[in-house]
């Protein structure tokens, strides 16, 4: 069964994500008050 998007107010972990150069950063590394994330596929 497919998962559903988490509800408003639910917190997610501070994940480690890779930069294209191979270095690693955290999701909350540079957040002002809000973080807009485009979740995409790069070739599409």
């Amino acid at each position: 069964m497919a998962m559903e998007i988490i509800p408003a107010g639910q917190q997610i972990p501070d994940l480690e994500l890779a930069r294209p150069d191979g270095s690693v950063t955290n999701l909350n590394a540079d957040i002002d008050q809000y973080l807009v994330i485009q979740v995409l596929r790069y070739y599409g």
């Binding site: 639910q10 997610i12 501070d14 930069r19 957040i31 809000y34 973080l35 807009v36 485009q38 995409l40």
Partner: protein, 139 residues
């Protein structure tokens, strides 16, 4: 391609989103050379990689687009509308059916607003994003 078209819209409206107190990032699969190419091409915010889909899993959007959604009128329209302007590159098979999405989190990484695509290139408008960002708190 539809995702890159939307990425360009975010680039063009980046300053207006910053004015609303929002940082912007894009997170995709494992195409590091493509992300680097886009970054070098002038995308002003971080393009990050999530090859194992950890972010998608944390957000609950790790389901793939179904065959029906991939072949829907909206998917075909969004794909065809940009294919004349851009050249399609290789797509990792495991990421080909990834569902597009746009989420807004607060500084404690709590979900504020989301749009989960039901077709290729199914993103909200920039105006919808701006309207979904809560007003800045007065200090």
């Amino acid at each position: 391609m539809p995702c890159q078209e939307f990425l360009a819209q975010l680039r063009d409206q980046h300053d207006s989103l910053i004015e609303l107190g929002a940082s912007v990032i894009a997170v995709g699969g494992a195409a590091d050379y493509q992300a680097q190419h886009l970054q070098d091409g002038g995308i002003p915010f971080p393009l990050l990689l999530d090859p194992d889909g950890d972010l998608r899993a944390a957000l609950g959007i790790d389901s793939k687009l179904s065959k029906r959604e991939m072949m829907s009128w909206t998917s075909v329209k969004n794909y065809v509308s940009v294919m004349g302007r851009r050249r399609q590159g290789r797509v990792s098979r495991s990421h080909a059916e990834d569902r597009p999405a746009l989420v807004i989190l607060d500084h404690q990484l709590r979900m504020v607003w989301s749009h989960v695509g039901k077709a290729l290139g199914d993103y909200p408008t920039i105006d919808e994003i701006r309207a979904a960002i809560p007003p800045l708190k007065q200090v």
